[in-house]
């Protein structure tokens, strides 16, 4: 009993000593610890408590949504995916941030990531990392068969078929086409490149067009007509897609830039030094290439009791110093323009200089508070087509119907 008393006294003393300190709970996606140490050294009155989120993005959304729905003040900041700003801002769950930034500060960020946190003319988060879909290709194989990097999806199919005949066991394109958010990203890139779109600027559903249909048919043909996709593609997550390419069994891979480091790591990759990176192919040869915008932003909870301190940390976490650490140590693609010419960053990821246009013009997924459900409709209907339960025409009609239902546009 006496021992317990002394222990309690000790605890009280310790907490008393640091009583002035604000503790912020930060629900994070991926961070280099040295960023936290640096911030705490510069701001001795603030302590950051890191809380890890689940691996799966859907589960992250569930977790954050549950906490915010309960108006729980114990979470001060959290990392958000690019599609979450409309959901949380229309629910009134996150703090508006624009008054804490000058125009010059905002101008330092890439337009795409900044656009993704903007909704109803207000800024709801600060991007600390961007992402964009890119095409990985086998440099050695294209050289061997004297083929250029494909400019269009059709060219990609032709090149794949040409090489598949000559290289036994080889497949054409690998990608994450399982029923999850990755499929929406892969799908939208092809749809946009053919000129299709889900919603127009006013939020009206315009998905049912011959351009979208052409894109859907292209994906369907890649699986069943041209057979350039690996077996089991409809159950491929990002890891499965990479595994096939890294094992040397496909000519092309659609992936995020985060795959680069591992593609050059001999313990997981058989194709070290044989990989090239390029923009994704176009649909229309006269058009442009489209990459889905990805990335992460830090948002401040409306229910945080220490909003001032939280915003101070958020600005630091998405600031120049922290983004550079993230880029060098974790190969996070920076959301700040100036880091694309930073020598330390380029030494780690030489390709980002050439790929700057792709990151600069990465394209956002449909912006809607109902995004999660729209995405699920797109995934399900696309998969219905993949497994042959629906024709592309039927899948597209059903997509339009369900999204219109959801948004009340009948």
């Amino acid at each position: 009993m006496k021992k317990l008393g002394i222990f309690l006294l000790f605890i009280m003393l310790v907490t008393g000593l640091f009583g002035q300190q604000v503790v912020l709970n930060y629900y994070y996606n991926a961070i280099d610890r040295s960023i936290i140490e640096l911030f705490e050294a510069q701001n001795p009155d603030i302590k950051i408590n890191l809380v890890e989120m689940p691996e799966n993005t859907n589960q992250k959304l569930q977790l954050i949504q549950t906490i915010l729905f309960a108006k729980d003040s114990s979470m001060d900041l959290f990392d958000a995916d690019v599609t979450w700003a409309p959901i949380f801002s229309s629910a009134g769950w996150v703090a508006p941030l624009s008054k804490h930034f000058s125009d010059i500060e905002l101008d330092a960020y890439l337009p795409g990531p900044l656009n993704s946190v903007t909704y109803n003319d207000e800024i709801w988060g600060i991007p600390y990392r961007t992402d964009a879909g890119i095409l990985y290709y086998r440099k050695d194989l294209l050289e061997k068969y004297n083929k250029p990097v494909p400019e269009t999806w059709e060219e990609l199919v032709e090149t794949s078929k040409y090489i598949m005949v000559r290289e036994p066991g080889m497949k054409g394109l690998s990608g994450s086409w399982a029923q999850f958010e990755g499929l929406t990203c892969n799908l939208m890139e092809i749809v946009w490149s053919y000129g299709g779109e889900v919603l127009d600027e006013n939020g009206k559903v315009i998905i049912n067009s011959k351009e979208t249909l052409e894109a859907l048919k292209m994906m369907d043909d890649m699986i069943s007509k041209h057979r350039i996709m690996p077996d089991g593609i409809v159950n491929f997550y990002s890891g499965d897609a990479r595994a096939v390419f890294f094992a040397g069994n496909s000519v092309f891979l659609r992936d995020w830039p985060t795959g680069w480091l591992n593609s050059q790591n001999p313990s997981v990759s058989k194709i070290v030094g044989k990989v090239g990176i390029s923009d994704l192919p176009k649909g229309d040869p006269m058009g442009r290439s489209y990459s889905t915008l990805g990335g992460w932003q830090v948002m401040v909870s409306e229910y945080s009791k220490n909003k001032e301190a939280a915003i101070r940390f958020a600005k630091f976490r998405a600031g120049l110093q922290a983004q550079k650490i993230g880029a060098v140590n974790l190969s996070h693609i920076p959301a700040l323009k100036s880091l694309y010419s930073d020598l330390d960053v380029l030494a780690k990821m030489p390709f980002i200089q050439d790929m700057y246009p792709a990151f600069y013009s990465a394209y956002p997924r449909p912006k809607s508070p109902y995004y999660a459900e729209i995405s699920n409709i797109l995934q399900t209907e696309t998969q219905m087509m993949f497994v042959g339960r629906k024709t592309p025409e039927r899948a597209l009609r059903d997509m339009e119907f369900q999204i219109k239902m959801l948004l009340g546009q009948f």
Partner: protein, 297 residues
């Protein structure tokens, strides 16, 4: 005359109090709240506008929602097939485990191992084994020249259902056989001795003695499994995530998606309430038959 509680009884109620409070807080309140919310149109996206009462509209919507109808039919078929297989294999395992033979300890341990593995882990394990690229199942089949092309276990809508059932049966049969084994051990040995003196065959013994006496235990075991299987979530989430094309989307998976991912609290509550009602219905049916059987015995 007024009934007075004696000290012992009072004490008993006091001891019950903590669990009643816990039940109220974590079971009764959430259930009532969910049922209440199921009558409203209530979405995270329009939280500031509050909720509007829509009566039974959400329920009407559910029975016109193709996703819900697909989910419920998958869940029902899955439950019936999986529990049937689990029962048959479970009885077989229990009979083996009940025999006196050398190495019985090892056999019992081997049978129980799948049950001891967390579902998420066994889900991922099966996912690796089913893979068309590097899966061990396709590898063995191809080496044995049974198949030429790899079987698309998880990417074919029908096979994905089969694959899920296999994984579930593998995982939960041990639980079933454990319950059945406990039932087997209560059957008096002299019944078998008497019947064999009367000239009964092994087959007759099984159908006339073992099975009838096992019925009460079997009913309980099946009831547990039916209810648990009906709410299947973790295995499907790890193995297929409801794919391909919603072919393996269970009712619980769809409910959780609607409620937590789509932020549709009203409709999500409706789906949860329907699941609860069906589970209750199943339990009532079983309880009724169980009571009848126990009285007979």
């Amino acid at each position: 005359m007024k009934y007075k509680m004696n000290k012992r009884e009072k004490m008993g109620y006091i001891f019950l109090l903590p669990s009643i409070v816990l039940m109220l807080a974590f079971i009764i309140y959430p259930v009532i709240n969910t049922v209440y919310l199921s009558f409203f149109n209530y979405r995270i996206q329009t939280l500031s506008m509050g909720k509007t009462f829509v009566g039974l509209n959400n329920y009407r919507m559910a029975f016109n929602d193709p996703n819900f109808l697909d989910a419920i039919s998958f869940t029902l078929i899955f439950t019936v097939v999986a529990v049937t297989l689990e029962t048959i294999i479970g009885v077989m395992f229990a009979l083996i485990m009940n025999k006196k033979m050398p190495g019985q300890g090892i056999i019992r341990t081997a049978v129980l191992i799948p049950w001891a593995i967390p579902t998420i882990i066994s889900g991922l394990m099966w996912k690796f084994m089913y893979s068309e690229q590097y899966g061990v199942i396709n590898y063995i089949f191809q080496k044995l020249m049974i198949i030429q092309e790899p079987i698309p276990w998880l990417s074919d809508a029908f096979l994905a259902g089969v694959a899920t059932i296999i994984a579930d049966v593998w995982k939960t049969t041990p639980y079933m056989s454990l319950l059945i084994l406990s039932g087997l051990q209560t059957i008096p040995q002299n019944l078998y001795e008497a019947s064999s003196i009367d000239g009964a065959t092994k087959r007759q013994q099984f159908f006339k003695i073992t099975l009838p006496l096992l019925k009460p235990v079997l009913s309980v075991a099946i009831l547990f499994r039916v209810i648990a299987t009906f709410r299947i979530y973790d295995l499907v989430a790890a193995l297929t995530n409801g794919g391909p094309a919603n072919a393996t989307q269970s009712l619980t998976l769809y409910t959780i998606r609607t409620y937590f991912n789509f932020g549709n609290i009203g409709y999500g509550s409706t789906l949860a309430t329907i699941t609860l009602l069906i589970s209750l219905l199943i339990s009532l049916l079983f309880l009724k038959s169980l009571r009848a059987k126990l009285e007979k015995v």
